[in-house]
């Protein structure tokens, strides 16, 4: 009787154990998170199906292999699992110390966050794009307001300048060449003509932001370059900068939005001048090269250069290395948008202390531009 009771109890105990084991296997096998048991030598001793799916390998392929990630108890860390013929999985891993087959081991729980990460990245990109567009819009509105003001003033100056030109001409006509005043009158005429040029350039630039729907046209880059250099003539002369540029014949015609590309040239040249404020030797080199389907326009200075860690960020909106009040941090970001809009590419190479080179790649063919813009 006693024996019978013992058998019944053992059977009940066996049943309970089986049920517990079943429950345990169900919990482990049906768990959506990957579970890996790793011994003290870092060798995988057990994997659940979710872990096998994560690696894309069967249990027997994983068991006995080196786990390969450092194990930090109590902390949740992010890691990337490289897989065969599939993109890597990003997982969140948390580790607990356990006993496995009577040995001290670790249980790593791995949660697949690849999709979440991708969504987060997409969101980050969208946010970044939105921020960029917002800043471009703000800049565009600001430029439009400045443009209106400048255009108004410039137009008002045109009447008196016209009068001055005619008055000087009259005086020149009625002054004998031997008179000392004759050369002075000639100087006044020359300087007035310079004013006319400056005002014309101001007008050209002030129209830039207003004419948002500017058309593409085939234009000589040299003419634009000269216009921008004229506008910067005062700074170039004051800073005693040598500007080396190709002759007009060497500069090709390019399909472009005139005012936009002018803005890019102006920005890059202004940056080059800023970078050489404290340089002993001051030189800006402008080069144009034919490289297959593109023209490459280089603006190189021998200024302070951009620190290596900054170079990745120089095209980010609001990123600036200039002191407060000296730059908005929008210039290069706008330049990049403009060049992108032309189907081109703006890049930067720099060596701190030696100088910076900006390269603009502009498509020769308008068809490429259109396709790139899509």
């Amino acid at each position: 009787m006693r024996n019978l009771e013992n058998i019944t109890e053992r059977k009940q105990a066996d049943n309970a154990l089986r049920t517990a084991e079943n429950n345990f296997h169900n919990v482990i096998n049906k768990n959506a998170d990957g579970m890996v048991v790793i011994d003290t030598n870092g060798i995988i001793r057990f994997t659940n199906p979710a872990a096998q799916v994560l690696w894309g390998r069967k249990e027997e392929e994983l068991k006995g292999q080196l786990f390969g990630f450092s194990i930090e108890e109590g902390e949740t860390i992010e890691l990337e699992i490289v897989r065969r013929s599939r993109p890597p999985a990003i997982v969140e891993m948390s580790v607990a110390k356990i006993e496995w087959e009577d040995e001290v081991s670790h249980l790593a729980s791995l949660r697949d966050i690849t999709e979440r990460k991708r969504a987060e990245d997409d969101l980050k990109k969208a946010y970044y794009e939105l921020e960029k567009q917002t800043s471009l819009l703000a800049q565009s509105e600001k430029m439009s307001a400045i443009g209106n003001l400048v255009a108004g003033v410039a137009h008002e100056l045109n009447n008196p300048m016209m009068s001055i030109l005619h008055f000087i001409n009259y005086c020149l006509k009625h002054t004998i060449k031997d008179d000392r005043r004759y050369t002075i009158l000639e100087d006044i005429k020359k300087e007035t003509e310079r004013c006319v040029d400056i005002v014309q350039n101001l007008l050209t630039f002030s129209h830039m932001e207003k004419e948002g729907e500017e058309e593409f046209q085939e234009l000589n880059c040299g003419v634009l370059l000269d216009r921008v250099l004229k506008l910067l003539a005062y700074r170039i002369e004051k800073q005693d900068v040598i500007v080396k540029k190709p002759s007009a014949q060497e500069i090709p015609t390019i399909w472009m939005k005139e005012n936009k590309i002018q803005q890019v040239f102006l920005n890059l040249l202004n940056n080059a001048l800023d970078a050489m404020m404290d340089s002993e030797k001051k030189e800006i080199r402008i080069e144009v090269h034919d490289i297959g389907e593109f023209y490459e326009i280089t603006f190189a200075d021998i200024g302070c250069g951009v620190p290596r860690k900054e170079i990745q960020r120089i095209f980010d909106p609001f990123h600036t290395t200039k002191p407060v009040g000296k730059g908005t941090g929008l210039g290069l970001s706008i330049c990049q948008s403009i060049v992108d809009d032309h189907g081109g590419k703006l890049s930067c190479e720099s060596e701190p202390g030696k100088g910076t080179q900006f390269k603009i790649l502009m498509p020769k063919d308008r068809i490429i531009q259109k396709e790139s813009m899509k």
């Binding site: 009447n159 008196p160 300048m161 016209m162 009068s163 030109l165 005619h166 008055f167 001409n169 009259y170």
Partner: protein, 134 residues
């Protein structure tokens, strides 16, 4: 008989500029300080060439142009302005109505002014924007 040029501009110094530049030329310059005055002068004199400002108080250049063209279909009229963009729509509508005119961007240099005038009134050729005299 010397040819007659009419300059319509509200800025006295611009009017004076035209007068001085043509002072020793073969042309007779008359000036008007408003669109209304210019139209009045054109009623009594037949001009060979008219320079017309756009932005003027009272009758503006576009309105004056319409009046002048009603009186004379053939006289060359140059609109001399710094503000043609402001008047773009009006100028376009004038042009659509078949009213003929030319545009000159202020400031116009004395050399350019002479070159254009001689070119129109004498039928001379201008090279590179400069009048070449014999």
């Amino acid at each position: 008989m010397s040819k007659h040029i009419l300059v319509i501009d509200d800025d006295p110094n611009v009017r004076k500029s035209f007068s001085l530049t043509f002072e020793d030329s073969a042309y007779h310059v008359e000036t008007a300080k408003s669109g209304e005055q210019g139209v009045e002068k054109a009623k009594s004199t037949r001009f060979d060439l008219i320079f017309l400002d756009l932005k003027m108080p009272g009758m503006n250049g576009v309105e004056a142009l319409r009046e002048l063209r009603m009186m004379d279909r053939d006289v060359p009229i140059y609109i001399v302005t710094a503000f043609h963009k402001e008047f773009f729509d009006q100028l376009q509508s004038v042009s659509h109505d078949g009213i003929d005119f030319d545009l000159l961007q202020k400031p116009v240099s004395p050399e350019k002014l002479l070159s254009i005038t001689v070119g129109i009134l004498e039928g001379s050729v201008s090279i590179g924007g400069c009048y070449v005299s014999n």
